[in-house]
Symmetry: C2
Subunit: 309 residues, 2 copies
């Protein structure tokens, strides 16, 4: 039995060493050197080519190298019934929380305005409300969104959460379903997108959504680039509906050099670093699932294929 | 009985209205229109002239308009035995915590470097450790320092606290006294100063202290400008001992236009806004103490004159 590794951005040498240290008898193969495909029962992948997984007849589990699995479900030929797992990592969750807190505080405390004042040698106090009077909204209340919402509420912000299904979180105003979206947006001054990318959420950050926010709102997208309709963001910034946006994810990564986001004064760009995974932690989860598969036990961090996350 | 108001930066009209709304029969007088000084039993002050308070023979309490009282104890003729109170304000504590968290995260997440990369159109991931591997040190563990240290620890940072006297705080490494300072500094990558300003702490942020920090450390001073020896900071930045500093307080405020801190690329300046007091909250505390004094009850938020805070 063998594991097939396929990623454009992760080092096969590192992964081979790390997994063999945890599962000494592992037959680790790097695509396209598959060997006999019938021997492959697990695949560890990031953005596999459509059809690649369908070509592995003995496949029993697909492991995503990241928290997202949209790159796997994008394959129209994805084998049906093979469990897909994703990374759930406390370190990654902590990093995402830090990123979200930082960029909410940056807007809340008017940091960029103070920076500009310093450049002009200007000493002037700028008013900002107490955190309790700042309304932050988090879309998506899974592991990452839930942790970010919790940390914002603990700091004293007036936090609301939006998700597809009703969920209870103490101290956080909850909105859900199609009817809940508009009232959630109407009250949200700083919007954090941490939704999974599915057919239902692709393009959700569009003109209609921006129009439901109060004037001068701020967007923080740390989910997926395809949640955002890029032209609608530029229009919302031009009209003043949005005052600014912090984007860590893009439809096309790395963001092309000619992209209008790069020089935009109201857009902050980071290169998909909000929640960097610690590969050692991911390797442990993958090794755990290889062992569970061999022992006939249930896998951890399995995705619901109906929901797509 | 009358209250004498003296401040260069607070509005006497606002304070008169606000306090009379809470204590309707209050005789509110604004310096230098003292009327008969023998009738004055309370003073509400920010940076009173030396000798001003000594000229009030019937004085029974001195109320500081801020969290600090160094501006009162700086008066060599301060009447002995008259209680001095300071502002303790949950809103102010929350704002200070937000400011400290923000500037620690800004350094931790390498935000300024990402901003510079965006200006160059550069897409490049910069490594940073997990919060658990980032050593933050908070000097001064009173109401403000204690809250900031707690919030940093809750986010997962490796937090140490330094104070004059031993204090126990769960999850925070404690150092105290003269012997504790050097080991505290040796392990601190991001140093937050929230000490009270006293004879013992004036000028504490000097060459000797910077030399005990690891190379590339970062200073955040949100206490008082006189904690810092300004030339020593410039030298520590020039040598690389310090990588940068965030300063909210200065020996001379507003910071003079010609000051070398303004254009320094490694110094971030904010105009003493880390913990803006909500004047309505302070007015309630002052009114409470006026009522307590009339009723012969113990005052709240009284300072220990021996410690100076």
């Amino acid at each position: 039995m063998a594991l097939l590794f396929r990623s454009d951005i992760d080092s096969p040498a590192w992964w081979g060493d790390e997994l063999r240290a945890l599962v000494p008898d592992l037959d680790f193969r790097v695509w396209p050197d598959t060997g006999a495909v019938a021997e492959i029962d697990t695949a560890l992948v990031w953005r596999p080519e459509p059809g690649l997984l369908a070509g592995l007849p003995g496949l029993k589990a697909i492991f995503s190298l990241g928290a997202g699995v949209d790159h796997i479900f994008a394959d129209p030929d994805l084998p049906v019934g093979v469990p897909v797992t994703r990374v759930v990592d406390a370190d990654m969750t902590g990093r995402m929380t830090e990123y979200v807190l930082f960029h909410v505080l940056r807007r809340h405390l008017r940091h960029d305005e103070y920076r500009d004042q310093q450049a002009r040698g200007e000493w002037r106090e700028l008013a900002h409300p107490a955190a309790a009077e700042r309304r932050v909204g988090v879309m998506g209340l899974g592991v990452l969104g839930g942790a970010a919402a919790r940390a914002l509420a603990d700091l004293g912000f007036d936090v609301a959460g939006y998700s597809r299904r009703a969920r209870d979180m103490p101290g956080i105003d909850r909105f859900h379903g199609a009817d809940g979206l508009e009232p959630f947006l109407n009250r949200t001054e700083i919007l954090v997108c941490l939704l999974p990318l599915t057919a239902a959420t692709a393009g959700i950050l569009d003109e209609r959504l921006f129009d439901a926010l109060p004037d001068g709102a701020w967007l923080i997208n740390v989910a997926r680039g395809n949640h955002l309709v890029e032209d609608d963001l530029l229009a919302a910034l031009a009209s003043g509906r949005l005052a600014g946006a912090t984007l860590d994810v893009f439809a096309d990564e790395p963001l092309p050099a000619s992209h209008p986001f790069w020089p935009h004064p109201a857009i902050t760009i980071t290169p998909h670093i909000a929640a960097i995974s610690d590969p050692r932690s991911i390797a442990k989860q993958v090794a755990e699932n290889i062992t569970r598969l061999r022992d006939g036990r249930a896998l951890i961090n399995v995705v619901d294929p109906g929901a797509g996350y």
